[in-house]
């Protein structure tokens, strides 16, 4: 490790010593331990992470985020930010949403529930849904200690230790037993400071028989094209509950993105995740993992990737079947344009009887300079597990292209239509309007690319 890195770590150490004073003792201890582990990773040059390109984390700083004044409504965002937020599934008018939480750099600038949600959800269950800053939540609820870094242990890899040691901001979402939050809750993360390392933490608790849909948009604004976004999201889906987590990334060409998303799914519960990457980035690595802990638990993880410019994307997902009768489906769809490189991974690991899993990785190459990989993996220790996979990478079949062209579509229109269809994965339970919004985003991006 060179002197520069040592110096940065020392400086950060001082900053965070001060910053951490507000936290309870257990968290202070965990964070300082994580920083030590991170230092170890840097000093001993441990393998950084199983997947994705390694880069110099210390070129970015988690302590340089600007302070932002609170906003009274999302309407106060600049036109550029509004457009970008909408491109990540965020509704500026908050139409058909339960509420919004907006984080700019490390500051929460807007947190509100809609009047529609007040009339419906909150009139019935005044405390049915809690949405708070995570740094307030750890002070308010001491039991969070048991859930903190439980799915992603702080020593998992360099990036996890880095977030666990230096995180700032983030959100805590808690749905109480039996409460069904029908309208999506949107959470939006903006990086606005150049070279800023945004390291939020998200903790979601869905109590038994509750329902929740989160739409998380991770973005940057036009002027800011270099930075880091690395969040840790831990989701607990209680017995019979249903959580849908949709995450959309739209960053800049010099951004590194390292989200860690993990879920523990209890008996008869359902976890649905949609990871959508549409914007350019320098690198984006994600490996969302769901542990099906309870009997009959179910998970669906879809990764929809549009590779543009020189993005290097390494996205996969894993399911651990640890109880009987659990089922899961992993779907990855990637369209690689320009000079993008996309790796799709999928891993099904069965440790229990009567488990059923299917894994699908499909890639479409739309440019001679684009590249795609597919790595499907299956592992089972039970003869009664039924695990299957299919993987395919190719270009659009001429036959399909000519067919649409013979209806009067230009080659570009036909290509865009097929590519859009390719990325439009049927999502049961997905609000049609949101699907339409995502489709709109994808078609705009495709139009730009083609």
């Amino acid at each position: 490790m060179d002197e520069r890195k040592r110096e940065v770590i020392r400086e950060l150490g001082n900053v965070y010593e001060e910053y951490d004073k507000k936290f309870p003792a257990w968290l202070k201890k965990s964070r300082s331990l994580a920083r030590e582990i991170y230092l170890d990773y840097e000093e001993r040059g441990f393998p950084a992470c199983r997947f994705g390109v390694d880069f110099d984390l210390l070129a970015y700083r988690p302590d340089i985020g600007k302070e932002h004044p609170p906003r009274r409504s999302l309407d106060e965002l600049s036109e550029d930010m509004k457009r970008r937020a909408e491109s990540a599934g965020q509704s500026i008018s908050e139409h058909d949403r339960t509420g919004t939480r907006l984080q700019e750099d490390a500051t929460t600038t807007y947190l509100s529930v809609t009047s529609k949600a007040k009339q419906t959800l909150f009139s019935r269950y005044p405390d049915g849904l809690i949405v708070e800053d995570i740094e307030d939540a750890v002070l308010g609820y001491s039991w969070i200690e048991k859930l903190w870094s439980h799915i992603y242990p702080i020593n998992l890899d360099k990036y996890t230790a880095y977030n666990a040691g230096y995180s700032r901001g983030g959100v805590f979402v808690w749905v109480k037993q039996g409460v069904k939050v029908e309208l999506p809750l949107q959470i939006c993360f903006f990086v606005e400071t150049q070279m800023y390392a945004q390291l939020p933490r998200i903790l979601v608790i869905a109590e038994p028989h509750s329902r929740l849909h989160l739409i998380s948009g991770c973005l940057t604004q036009s002027g800011c094209n270099a930075g880091l976004h690395g969040c840790i999201t831990e989701i607990y889906v209680g017995e019979g509950a249903e959580v849908t987590y949709s995450m959309i990334h739209n960053f800049g060409p010099e951004f590194h993105v390292r989200p860690k998303i993990g879920a523990i799914v209890e008996k008869d519960a359902t976890y649905i995740e949609n990871l959508i990457i549409i914007g350019p980035c320098k690198s984006d690595q994600a490996y969302p993992t769901a542990v099906l802990r309870g009997e009959g638990a179910k998970a669906v993880i879809r990764c929809i990737i549009l590779g543009v410019e020189q993005s290097s994307i390494d996205v996969g997902s894993a399911i651990i079947f640890s109880n009987e009768g659990t089922r899961a489906e992993l779907i990855s769809r990637a369209v690689a344009t320009d000079e993008s490189k996309i790796k799709m991974r999928g891993n099904l690991k069965s440790y229990a009887k009567r488990t059923k899993g299917h894994l699908e990785c499909r890639g479409l190459l739309l440019s001679p300079l684009a590249q795609a990989w597919a790595y499907p993996q299956l592992r089972s220790i039970s003869p009664e597990a039924d695990l299957t996979h299919e993987a395919a990478i190719g270009k659009i079949a001429d036959e399909e292209l000519y067919y649409l062209m013979s209806r009067g579509l230009t080659e570009n229109e036909a290509t865009s239509m097929i590519a859009r269809g390719f990325l439009d994965v049927e999502t049961p339970g997905f609000p049609p309007l949101l699907r339409h919004e995502i489709d709109k985003v994808i078609s705009t991006s495709l139009k730009r690319v083609l």
């Binding site: 079949a397 062209m405 013979s406 209806r407 239509m417 339409h436």
Partner: protein, 260 residues
Amino acid sequence: MSLLEIKGLRVTVDKREIIKGVDLNISKGEIHVLMGPNACGKTSLALAIMGYPTYKITKGELRFKDIDLRKHDITSRARLGLGMAYQSPPEVRGVKLRDILRLIAGSPPWNPTEEKEGIASRYIEKVRLSVDRFLSRDLNLGFSGGERKRSELAQLFAQRPDLMILDEPDSGVDIDSLKLIGKEIDEFQKEEGCAVLIITHHRHILQYLRPNLCHIMYDGRIVDRGDPDCLIPCIESVGYEGFIERLQVCERVKEVEKYG
């Protein structure tokens, strides 16, 4: 002047000659039938007219509305007024029948906030497919034989071409669907006054269409043409092989008469 003019057309696929000199003229509003044994080049001729790049025109003329089609790609040929219903259309995953119908008919993309499905459902209803079931189905994915033919027709109707090329719209179709398809084509043809080139193996569908001329294709050539009411029964009784043998006998008789 003919709408479609083909003169001495030769077409190769992978350097193999498939169309070996075809002449064909279709005027506005006419209905022509193209018949011939399997693999004689009927579909190849249709795809060459549509402009599939794999079907290379090596010789001859191909004109539509007096425009040399050889300089135009598939899209612009379609926009000039050529339309084709495929015998076995490809499955296009993710592309909804609704979206393609709206695009063909020139309406803006569907928005889920719209109450009505608009123009797309009109064409689906026209070919008696269930609107609820087919609007948001992926194009041809899991369609039965008859459903494919109907969806092809719906697309063609939305396109409103000046020349419809129908490649076996009656194959693999039950008797009720056949009747419906035949009637719909006839109705549309009368309304729009478009020309039709229909490729078929059976005369049943022709009951609804009253074609003007029938062409018999054999081994990449059109070997005979004439009144469908005379030609088709003849082929049905002796088959293509028998028909060709007789033609050859006739040729020889002509030669003998000419040169003694």
